[in-house]
């Protein structure tokens, strides 16, 4: 019989999957799938700081993610160096810093990289779920604006959209969701939840409304079924992260086949 921690984790995975899928649908549209994946690794030094100075490591992860995202965004705006190149550089720097900060604490490093659901409590799962809901609602409010910015920044400005403020809010929200997702799948795999449900949804959707919704649903499916399988199928995996990835990849492969057979999208 699974313990309470497992049910809290399952509950949390549903909300993390929904938020990562929904917010990730924008990142994939912006052709920043790789960015979404790499950005999540930036959280590692923040987790290490939390562990060292005894505060919630996920707050540290969020702070590092958001500050790094803002720095990258500012450098990109003023130098025109591509976002991908900057994220690539920052991601490796963050990994190096994180490993340096963890030192000999290999077990803690492993938990940070691959997630640790043994620490999930009813309160932490509840708070995280609430934050995910708020992130989804706020993203819904700026979704059209971000899509318009992606279609043409000038077009968005011509309708009075404050592009800088909208992008900043999105970076803030994605940092929050990634920081929460780390608890379930770790820094190495959380980017997967942002990217893969969205690309699978894109294969199956001809409409924007369906795409965003389906991306959230597939995020829920990958995260929750992954956690369920990890608990019930004995593969000697210490963390649920890899199982979440396997389920997500299966969904993606299925979406490819469906699209190929039914030509759902041109």
């Amino acid at each position: 019989m699974p313990d309470a921690t497992f049910f809290y984790s399952l509950f949390l995975s549903i909300f993390v999957g929904a938020a990562a899928g929904y917010l990730g649908s924008l990142m994939v549209l912006e052709k920043m799938a790789l960015v979404g994946d790499a950005l999540s690794h930036v959280a590692l030094p923040g987790l290490a700081l939390g562990m060292t100075f005894h505060f919630n490591p996920y707050l540290g992860a969020f702070a590092f993610l958001f500050i790094t995202a803002v720095i990258i965004w500012q450098i990109q705006r003023s130098t025109k160096i591509s976002f991908e190149a900057l994220v690539g550089a920052m991601f490796t720097l963050a990994l190096a810093l994180g490993i340096l900060m963890y030192g000999n604490e290999l077990e803690a490093l492993e938990e940070a990289l691959f997630g640790d659901i043994s620490q999930v409590t009813l309160l932490s799962a509840g708070v995280a779920a609430l934050v995910c809901v708020v992130a989804i609602v706020l993203t819904k409010l700026i979704y059209d604006k971000l899509v318009l910015v992606m279609i043409s920044e000038d077009l968005a400005v011509s309708r009075g959209i404050n592009v800088a403020r909208t992008n900043l809010l999105y970076l803030f929200l994605i940092s929050v969701v990634v920081a929460i997702g780390i608890q379930i799948v770790g820094t190495l795999l959380v980017g997967f939840l942002v990217v893969v449900p969205a690309i699978a949804a894109k294969n199956l959707s001809a409409r924007m409304k369906h795409y965003a919704l389906l991306s959230a649903v597939l995020g829920i499916t990958a995260a929750s079924v992954g956690v369920l399988l990890w608990n019930f199928v004995s593969l000697n995996l210490p963390f649920p992260g890899p199982m979440v990835v396997f389920v997500g990849i299966a969904i993606f492969a299925f979406s490819l086949i469906i699209n190929w057979r039914l030509k759902l999208t041109p």
Binding site: L29, V147, M150, I151, S158, G160, A206
Partner: protein, 251 residues
């Protein structure tokens, strides 16, 4: 010279552009001594012109002349010196030269509904696409001409009184170009809107526009479009750039 009375900005009407009331209500836009300099490079050099309400102004010039920069400045996107003064309560519809739609899972209906009050059917009607059966098609699969019309419909959906069109026939085959300008001309007359359009097509300038502004960082010609056939005007536009005085009275 027209007397200009400066008004307080109305950000809700034209997203923070300078709003004025011109006592002589013939003008919708007055630009004077407009300069744009980015990273020590002069992109626009002391440009001055007026645009009369209900007219079409063509903006012509070689690549890199500053045409799109001028539009972006009129939209208040680019930092500048000099003044850009729009008539009070001016609502601008903008059609950019390039848009990224190929990879977006968005239908025409969804796009036209985005932030617009006009019904999708009415929007498509305005650009003669009602019977094209494209409402549920993805933006990425439209032909060049259809996409341009949809972008124009989107710009018109917010009930603008000015349209800024940056090369509105980009990606459109030659046969489909002229019908788009004919349509714009009809819309202009029917809805009494003012059009500023960037083009390279001299035939279009002659046939469908009232005034011409030739740019090459500075103004190289500013006058009636009909003058484009004159030899000295052609030389002014296509020869070695010679900056002209800003506004010499009216066009």
């Amino acid at each position: 010279m027209t007397t200009v009375k400066t008004y307080v900005l109305h950000t809700d009407t034209i997203f923070g552009l300078h709003s004025i009331m011109v006592d002589d209500s013939r003008y919708i836009l007055k630009v004077s001594n407009l300069c744009v300099k980015l990273q020590n490079q002069i992109l626009l050099d002391h440009i001055s012109f007026n645009v009369k309400k209900g007219t079409t102004l063509a903006i012509l010039g070689p690549n890199g002349a500053g045409k799109t920069v001028l539009f972006r400045t009129l939209l208040n996107i680019v930092p500048h010196t000099g003044s850009v003064e729009w008539m009070e309560k001016t609502q601008i519809g903008y059609v950019p030269q390039y848009v990224t739609v190929s990879d977006v899972p968005m239908t025409v209906k969804e796009f036209l509904s985005m932030g617009n009050r006009t019904r999708v059917k009415d929007a498509l009607d305005m650009v003669r696409l009602t019977n094209a059966g494209i409402e549920n098609k993805r933006l990425g699969v439209l032909s060049g001409g259809q996409l341009r019309r949809v972008l124009i419909a989107w710009a018109l959906s917010d009930n603008p009184n000015v349209l800024l069109l940056d090369e509105p026939t980009t990606g459109v085959d030659m046969d489909s170009e002229e019908p788009i300008y004919m349509l714009l001309n009809e819309i202009k007359k029917k809805q009494k809107i003012t059009i500023l359009l960037i083009t390279h097509n001299i035939h279009i300038v002659q046939e469908y526009t009232d005034d011409l502004l030739a740019l090459n960082k500075c103004l190289t010609f500013y006058g009636p479009s009909a003058d484009i056939v004159k030899h000295d005007v052609q030389r002014q536009i296509h020869g070695e750039p010679v900056c002209v005085e800003s506004i010499k009275g009216e066009t």
